[in-house]
C-alpha cells in the first residue's frame, strides 16, 4: 500500500516540477501546403509539433497553419504515405510526401492519452476500421472476429443478439466481457444500440500496462472506440446503402416414409407396439407430412442505410449522422430494427475548446419463443401443424403422436415477445490549454436507457406436457442511467533527448437502474373473435414487482511516460479506486502497472537501415467487479408468501442465504513480453506477444456450503472470492503490403494460442471441480472440459458381450445386446457395470490455436477483400445430433440414418431401440445418454468470414455529376466453412462458461450475400 501511495505522490510531484520549471517558448505562426509526389494536394494530413501534443490537419487544398517556435521539428503523417520530419524555417513550407507505410506513426488512443504507435509499450491492437465495417453486423463486437489478435468473438445468428467477446481467455467465472470506452467514457458497451458506421477508430488494450488506467473494470481488456469528427472544410455528405439476404444452414432430415421406417425399427427392436400415429399412417385423417425445419427457418433480409454530414472551419467542426438498420431474421419470429442519430461537434477559441459526442438510438427486437431450432427437431414429421381440437388450434404431442417437445409454430404464433430500447449516450467536454505542453479537460458523460419488454400470450396449448396457457401479458420497463464526471490534466514536454508526457485525473461514476415488471392474466376478448384486450388494466388478475440498484465509484489515476531519444521508453500507471459495491474494508483497491520498451533499431550498433525492431515488456494489475450492489450484506428475503385460513397471502420474511461480508475485486496480474518490428522499409511488419494472465480472488458461486446450514445444496452458493484462473498464450501478427505495382495488395495474418487453466476453485478443500451435465471444470485443467463415458464401438455379437469382463471376471455390460455400444470401464472402486463413475476427460472446448487472415487486393478501380478465420483443436458436443440420432425417443431423425442391424454391422449408429419406463433397457439408455462421448466432435474449422468485391467510379466521371467519390460493392459473409463438424455451425456461442463447447442448438451464424453503394459529395 505504502509503495503505491508513494508512486502516486511521485507522479504528482513530477507534474508540479514540470509545471513550475519550464517557461513557454516564443511562438510563431507557420503555414504550409502538403502535396503528394504526383502534385495532388493532400487533405487531412497530420502535422504535429515534435515533442508536444500540438497537431493540426490540412484542409482540402492541403494547406495548414501551426504555432511553432522557430527551429522546432514538424512531423507530417498521412495514411498511405511515409512520414516526414523537417525543421521549421521562416517562409511557408511546401512539403511533398512519398507513398509508403506510416502505420507506426499512427496515433493510438490508450486511455486519456494518445501516443504514436511506435511509442507503445503495452499490448495494443489497432483494428482497421475499414475492414471491420465491411461486415454486416448489428454490433461492433461481431465485426472484430479475425481482425484483432487474441480476441475471440462468437456470434449468434439471431437477429439483434450480441456476440460473446473474449480477450485473452477467461479470467473470471462470472463476467468475461471486455470494457468499452467510447469517446473517452467508460460506459456500458458498444451494444446493438450503437451504430458501427459512426466509428473512426477501434483500439483494443490487452495487457495491464495499457489497461491499468481503467483499473477496476479492465481485467477483461478494453475496447476503445472513437467516433468520427468533422474536418476543416465545406460540408461533406456521405451516404451508404446496403441490402442483403441471409439464411442459416439446414439439417438433412428424414422425410415421412423414412422416418416411419426408422421409428418402426426402433419400436420393433424393443417389442413396443407402434404408437397409433405410426400404425395408422396413411389412413384418412392421418396423412400429415410436415417439414418443421422449413417452417422455422426463413430467408432474412437486411437493410442498412447511413447518411452522414461533416465539416467545419478552422475553429470548429461537426459530424452528424443518421442510420437505419433492419434484419428480418432467419428464424421464425426473430427480427431487429434500429435507428440512430449522432451529433459530434467541437469548437475552440484561444486556449478553450469545447465539444460533445452524442448518439440517440431506438431499437426494436422480436424475440423467438422457446428455442425454435430445438423445437423443430423435437417434432415428428408425421404430425400436422394444426389441431382444431386443441385450444389455440395447434397440434401438440399426444399418445398417438408422442413427443414431449413444444410445437414451434404454436409457441411462436400464440406468444409474441419483443423489446424496445431508447438510449442516449454521449459526453460533453471543456478543455483549457494554457500552454502547448499542458491542458486540462473536464468531461461529463451520460448514458440513459429506457427499455420496454412485452410479451402477450394468446390462450392455447403448446405441448403435451404443459397445461393450456391463459391469456397473459407480461410487461417490464427498465430505466437506467450512468453518469461520469471526469477531470484530467495532460502534459507533454521535451527537453533535449528526453521526453515526458502523462496524465493525472479523477473520475466519479454513478449508476442507477430501476425496473418495474407487471404481468396480468385472464384478458377479455374483443367481440367474438380471438382478439384480446392487451392492456394490464383489462387483466383479470395482475401481479407487479420492481427493483432498484444504485452504485457509485470514484478513482484517482495517473500515467507517466518517459522517452529517451525514442530509444528507451518507460511508462508507469496507477489507479486508485473506491467502489460502493463492496463492504467495509474492501471498498478501495489500487491497480498499478509498469512497462518498458527498447527500440533496438535506434541503437548505433544496429546496422540494417530498413529494419525496425522494438522489445516491449509490461507487468501490472487489473480489476474486475463481479458483485452486485449490496451483495455483502445479509438480507431478509421478503418475497415469501404464506397464508393460513385467510383469503389473501401474507408477507413472510427471513434470511434465506448466508452473506459474505468479504466480497472484493477480482484481480488480474498480467505479464506481457512483445517484439514489434518491420523489414523491407516497412513493407513487412510483425508483432509477437507472450502473455501470462493470472486471475486471483475470482468470484465463484460454486463453492458449496453444507446444505444443513441453510438448506441450499445446489449452486449458486453464496459468492466467495475463492477461485483462481490462469491464461497463458502467445499472439503473433504479420503484415505484408506492396503498393509498388499496379496490383496493390496487403496481407495480414494473425495467430494466437491460449492455454486456460483453473488453479483453484473454493475455500473448501474438497471442492476440486464444477460439474455440469457434460463437462467438468477441474483444478489443473481448462474450464469446461468434457467429462464423459468413453465408447469403444458397437457390440457385434453376444459372444463379444459375454467376453467383455472386468478383472474379477464380472461382465461389464451384462444386459447389453448386439448393436449396443461398448463402453470402457475406467473406475477403480469395484462397482460393477458402467456407471457415471466411468467418465473420464474426453477433450477440451478450447482451441489450440486460432488464426485470422485478411487479404486486400486492388487494381485500378477494383478492390477485392477477404477475411478468413480459423480455429483448431477444440471439441464440440453436438446437441442436435444427440437428438437426430436418438432412436430411443420420438423426434426428428437424420436423413439416411442406418442403425446397427445384424445385416448392417459396419456402422457407428447403435441398435435402434425405442423405450422408456417398462420397455427401457439399461444399455440402450447408455447408447443415447448425454454422458457418453458419441456426439463429441472436432470443432476445427476455417471460415471465409467475409469476401467483398468493389468498384470505385473514377473521379473524372464523377466530377461531372458533382459527386466526390462513389463505390459499389457486393459482399458475402460466412459463405464457406470448411469443417468436419456436423452441427449447423462450429462457432458455438454457449454463454455458460462451464459449457462453452456444448452446442445446445445454439443459433448458427448466418450466411449472407449483400450489395451496397457508398457516395460522397
Amino acid at each position: 500500500m505504502r509503495m503505491k501511495r508513494r508512486l502516486l505522490n511521485c507522479l504528482m510531484w513530477s507534474f508540479f516540477c514540470l509545471a513550475l520549471t519550464f517557461p513557454a517558448a516564443a511562438q510563431q505562426k507557420l503555414t504550409g501546403k502538403v502535396l503528394s509526389s504526383k502534385g495532388e494536394p493532400l487533405r487531412g494530413a497530420t502535422i504535429s509539433l515534435k515533442g508536444s501534443q500540438k497537431t493540426v490537419a490540412t484542409d482540402a487544398e492541403g494547406n495548414f497553419s501551426i504555432d511553432a517556435p522557430a527551429g522546432s521539428t514538424l512531423v507530417i503523417t498521412f495514411v498511405g504515405f511515409a512520414d516526414k520530419e523537417l525543421k521549421t524555417g521562416n517562409g511557408p513550407l511546401s512539403i511533398t510526401l512519398e507513398p509508403g507505410n506510416s502505420s507506426l506513426s499512427d496515433v493510438v488512443v490508450i486511455g486519456y492519452q494518445t501516443v504514436r504507435r511506435k511509442d507503445l509499450t503495452g499490448a495494443v491492437d489497432v483494428v482497421k476500421v475499414a475492414e471491420a465495417q465491411k461486415m454486416v453486423a448489428a454490433t461492433v463486437g461481431e465485426t472484430l472476429q479475425g481482425l484483432a489478435t487474441g480476441v475471440n468473438v462468437r456470434s449468434s445468428g439471431r437477429a439483434g443478439s450480441e456476440a460473446v467477446i473474449e480477450i485473452r481467455g477467461n479470467g473470471s467465472l462470472l463476467n468475461n466481457n471486455p470494457m468499452y470506452v467510447i469517446d473517452g467514457l467508460p460506459l456500458t458497451s458498444a451494444n446493438r444500440d450503437f451504430n458501427p458506421a459512426d466509428i473512426e477508430s477501434i483500439q483494443i488494450l490487452k495487457d495491464a500496462s495499457a489497461a491499468a488506467i481503467y483499473g477496476s473494470r479492465a481485467a477483461n481488456g478494453v475496447i476503445i472506440i472513437t467516433t468520427k469528427k468533422g474536418k476543416d472544410g465545406p460540408m461533406k455528405t456521405s451516404f451508404s446503402a446496403r441490402y442483403g439476404g441471409e439464411n442459416i444452414k439446414r439439417f438433412q432430415l428424414a422425410g415421412t416414409q423414412e422416418w416411419i421406417a426408422l421409428n418402426k425399427q426402433a419400436y420393433d427392436n424393443s417389442g413396443t407396439p407402434y404408437m397409433k400415429g405410426v400404425a395408422t399412417y396413411g389412413q384418412p385423417g392421418n396423412t400429415a407430412s410436415t417439414d418443421w425445419q422449413s417452417l422455422v427457418m426463413k430467408t432474412g433480409h437486411i437493410q442498412d442505410y447511413d447518411l452522414g454530414f461533416s465539416g467545419g472551419g478552422p475553429n470548429s467542426s461537426y459530424f452528424v449522422s443518421g442510420s437505419y438498420f433492419k434484419n428480418t431474421g432467419s428464424v421464425l419470429n426473430s427480427s431487429f430494427e434500429r435507428e440512430t442519430m449522432r451529433v459530434n461537434t467541437e469548437s475552440k477559441k484561444g486556449i478553450f475548446k469545447i465539444g460533445e459526442n452524442m448518439i440517440l438510438s431506438n431499437s426494436y427486437e422480436n424475440i423467438p419463443q422457446g428455442n425454435p431450432l430445438f423445437d423443430m427437431l423435437a417434432m415428428l414429421p408425421i404430425m400436422s401443424v394444426k389441431d382444431p381440437t386443441n385450444l389455440g388450434g395447434f397440434a401438440t404431442g399426444n399418445n398417438d403422436f408422442f413427443t414431449a417437445g413444444e410445437n414451434p409454430i404454436a409457441i411462436n404464433t400464440l406468444f409474441k415477445s419483443n423489446t424496445g430500447n431508447i438510449r442516449i449516450k454521449g459526453n460533453a467536454f471543456a478543455e483549457i490549454k494554457p500552454a502547448d505542453w499542458i491542458w486540462y479537460r473536464f468531461n461529463v458523460g451520460a448514458e440513459v436507457n429506457w427499455s420496454h419488454f412485452q410479451q402477450f400470450n394468446i390462450p392455447g396449448r403448446i405441448s403435451k406436457d404443459v397445461q393450456n396457457n391463459v391469456a397473459a401479458l407480461i410487461e417490464s420497463r427498465d430505466q437506467a442511467y450512468d453518469i461520469i464526471t471526469e477531470h484530467t490534466i495532460n502534459f507533454s514536454k521535451s527537453f533535449g533527448m528526453h521526453h515526458i508526457d502523462g496524465v493525472v485525473g479523477f473520475n466519479f461514476q454513478q449508476d442507477h437502474y430501476a425496473n418495474i415488471l407487471s404481468n396480468g392474466t385472464d384478458f377479455p376478448t374483443i367481440g367474438s373473435g380471438s382478439n384480446y384486450l392487451q392492456v394490464l388494466t383489462a387483466a383479470g388478475s395482475t401481479y407487479s414487482a420492481g427493483t432498484k440498484t444504485d452504485w457509485a465509484a470514484q478513482s484517482f489515476f495517473g500515467r507517466l511516460n518517459y522517452n529517451f531519444n525514442d530509444k528507451y521508453l518507460l511508462s508507469g500507471t496507477v489507479r486508485r479506486e473506491s467502489d460502493s459495491r463492496f463492504g467495509e474494508g474492501y471498498k478501495n483497491a489500487t491497480f498499478p502497472a509498469v512497462s518498458a520498451a527498447w527500440n533496438i533499431s535506434k541503437e548505433n550498433f544496429f546496422d540494417w537501415r530498413d529494419v525496425t525492431l522494438k522489445l516491449r515488456g509490461s507487468y501490472g494489475s487489473l480489476g474486475n467487479v463481479t458483485v452486485a450492489p449490496w451483495q455483502y450484506l445479509g438480507v431478509a428475503n421478503s418475497t415469501i408468501r404464506y397464508m393460513f385460513s385467510g383469503t389473501s397471502p401474507q408477507v413472510g420474511a427471513t434470511q434465506t442465504d448466508l452473506a459474505n461480508a468479504n466480497l472484493r475485486w477480482e484481480t488480474d496480474n498480467t505479464t506481457d513480453v512483445g517484439i514489434d518490428g518491420s523489414v523491407l522499409n516497412n513493407k513487412l511488419s510483425f508483432s509477437v506477444d507472450y502473455f501470462k494472465r493470472l486471475s486471483k480472488n475470482v468470484l465463484t458461486t460454486n463453492d458449496p456450503l453444507p446444505a444443513y446450514l441453510t438448506g441450499n445444496s445446489n449452486p449458486p452458493y453464496p459468492a466467495v472470492n475463492a477461485a483462481s484462473l490462469q491464461n497463458v498464450g502467445f499472439e503473433a501478427s504479420l503484415t505484408y503490403r506492396n503498393n509498388d505495382n499496379p496490383v496493390r495488395f496487403d496481407i495480414t495474418a494473425n495467430v494466437s494460442h491460449l492455454k486456460n487453466k483453473l488453479l483453484a476453485l473454493g475455500e473448501t478443500n474438497n471442492t476440486s471441480y464444477v460439474q455440469e451435465p457434460l463437462t467438468r471444470s477441474q483444478i489443473g485443467r481448462s474450464l469446461g472440459e468434457y467429462y464423459l463415458l468413453q465408447s469403444d464401438g458397437i457390440f457385434q455379437s453376444q459372444q463379444e458381450i459375454d467376453s467383455y469382463v472386468d478383472k474379477n471376471g464380472n461382465k461389464i455390460q451384462p444386459t447389453a445386446q448386439p448393436g449396443n455400444m461398448k463402453f470402457i470401464q475406467h473406475k477403480t472402486n469395484g462397482v460393477q457395470g458402467i456407471t457415471s463413475d466411468d467418465r473420464i476427460f474426453r477433450g477440451s472446448p478450447w482451441p489450440t490455436f486460432q488464426t485470422g487472415l485478411v487479404v486486400n487486393l486492388s487494381y485500378k478501380a477494383f478492390a477485392f477483400n477477404m477475411i478468413w478465420w480459423g480455429s483448431f483443436g477444440n471439441k464440440l458436443f453436438n446437441g442436435s445430433r444427440a437428438l437426430l440420432e436418438n432412436l430411443q425417443g420420438n423426434n426428428a431423425y437424420e436423413k439416411g440414418l442406418k442403425p446397427w442391424t445384424p445385416q448392417n454391422p459396419h456402422t457407428n449408429i447403435p441398435l435402434a431401440y425405442f423405450g422408456s419406463g417398462t420397455n427401457s433397457s439399461a444399455d440402450a439408455s447408455l447408447d443415447v445418454i448425454n454422458i457418453n462421448d458419441r456426439w463429441l466432435e472436432s470443432g476445427s474449422f476455417i471460415r471465409l468470414r467475409n469476401v467483398e468485391l468493389s468498384y470505385t467510379i473514377p473521379p473524372s466521371v464523377l466530377h461531372r455529376v458533382r459527386i466526390e467519390n462513389a463505390r459499389f460493392y457486393v459482399s458475402g459473409q460466412n459463405l464457406l466453412t470448411i469443417t468436419k463438424y456436423k452441427g449447423l455451425d462450429p462457432e458455438v456461442a454457449n454463454a455458460d462458461i462451464f459449457s462453452r463447447g456444448v452446442d445446445n442448438e445454439s443459433y448458427p451464424a448466418n450466411r449472407m450475400i449483400s450489395m451496397g453503394l457508398q457516395f460522397g459529395f
Binding site: 397445461q467 413472510g652 458449496p704 453444507p706
Partner: protein
Amino acid sequence: MKSSPFYILFFTALIALLNPGCTKKLDIANPNVELADSLWTSAAGANQGVLATYQTFTKPGFNWWVPILKNLCSDEGWSESPYVQLSNTMKFIYPDYNFLAGSVRGKIDDVWGTLYQGIYRANQVITYVPNIKMDDQLKAQYIGEAKFLRAYLYYTLITVFGKVPLVLVPNDSKLVDVNSTEEKDWQQVLQDLKDAEGALPVSYSGDDRGRVTQGAAYALRAKAYLQLRDYASAKTELDWFFTGAGNGLYSLVPNFQDNFTKLNENNSESVFEIQYSDIVPFNPSVGNFQGFDLPNQVLGSTWANFIGPQGVPGCFSDARARRWPIAEFLKENTATGARDPRLGISLVYDSTDVRGPDYTMVYGQTWKQRYNSTAPDLCWFHKYLNDYDPSMQNAEPLFNSPINYRVIRYADILLLYAECLNALGNTAAAYTYVDQVRTRASVNMKPLSVAHPGLSQDAFFQQLRHERIVELMGECQRWDDLKRWGDLDDATKVAALVPGDPEFANFVVGKTRVFPIPQKEIDLNPTITQNPNW
C-alpha cells in the same frame, strides 16, 4: 513563469474537487430489501419469520417428496415412474447417495435441503425473536410455533435419514453437531416439543386458524416417543387429549371424506394440518411454480399431480398403490352389511365404485373406458385427489392443489392411544378408542367390542395393524408404523411384507430402514460418518 499562478490555481481547484465529500456518495443504502438484522426488531418481523418457516411446506422438496417417500417406501405404495431413479429409490435400489439431495433435477428434488431450509428459518425465529421487545404471550407463541416446526422437520429427517446433523443456531457453522446420534436428535425433538407445549395456544381464531396448536405439540411428542417405543411416555402425552386440558377439544368429523378435501378444512378432527391454497392461480405463462420464494408463487401442493391416475391429463402417476390393502378393506363389512366405505375413498381401482369397472369413474371416464383392463397392478391412492368435486372431473390438476395435508388426525390419536394402552397391558381400556374410529357416522363399522371382543394383547395389536391400514392408508403413516413395530428390524418380518410388496425383497435389515446421508454433505465435511452399511 507568468503562467505559473494559473497552474497553481488549476491544481487547487482540482484537488478541491477531488478530496472532500465524495466518499460519502459511496455509502448507498439498499432500497429493495430489509437487512436481516432489522427484521428481528419488531413483532411484525417476528411474525414474518414464522410465516417464512411455514412456507417451507409449499416447496416440492416437502410436499411432493415427503409423501412419496413415506407412502411408497412402505408396502402401501410403489412406483413405475419412467423417472427411473425415482422408481428405483422406492424399490430400495439407491446407487446415487445424493439422489435425495437434488442430484438430478436440482432444487425441486431436494428433500434434504428443503427440510434443512425450514430448520434454518425456524432457527432464526428461535434465536432472534427472544431479543425483540414485544408482547410476551405473542413472543412465546411465535417461538413455540418455530420450535414445533423445527421438531416436525427433524422428525421427518430422522424417519427418512436416521441420524442427521443437529443445527440449532443459524449462521454459525461452528455450533453444528455434525455427528449427532439418532438418540440425540430425538431428544432435541422431544425438548422442542416440550417447549412448544408450554407456549402454544390450544386454538386460534379467524385467519390464524391453521397455525400449530398445543394439541399438535402433544400429539407429535407422543408420536416421537412412539418411534422410540416408549409407550409409557407416549401415553402420558396423549393423556392430554383424554384426561388433560385437551379433553373434548377434538372429535371425529362425521364424514370420513372431509379429511381429504378442501370442503371442511381445519375441522374438529384436525390436530396438525398443513395449509395449502389455490388462491394464487398457477399460470404456466408466468411460471410461478411452488417453492421459488416469489410473491406470486402458488401456495398449493403438487402431490395430486404425482399420484393421480395414469392417463388423466396433468397427472404423472409416479405413485401407485399396492392392491393387497383392498383385501384388508374387504375383511369386514359395515354394520349394515355394506362394503367398508373407506375403500372407495382411499383407493382408485377397478371397483372404487362398488358396482365395478363400468361404474367406477376416473376423471370423467369409466374405468372400463379409460383402461379397458382389470390388470392386477393398476391401483392408485385416492385421498387428496380433487375428483370429489364434480367440476373437477374434466379438469387437469394444476400443480396447485388447495387441499390441506392432515398430518395428524384425531383418528390417528385414538388409534395410537389404543396402541399405547394395549402395549402397556391395558387392552380392555383400549377398545373404546378403536370403537370411536370404527363407528364414525359415515363409516359405520360394528364396534370392535362387538365384532372382536376380548382380544388378547397380541391379537389386539394385530387388529390395530388392520385398523390403521383401513383408516390411514395413503396418509404417510405406514412407514413410521412399520419402523415402530419393528417390522423393518427383522428379516423374517421383512420377508412377510414381500408378498404384498415385492420391492421388500431388496430391503436389507440394518441398512435400508434409513437412506444414506447425502454424499455431498460428507464430501464437504468428512467428519460426518455415513449411516451403517451404506
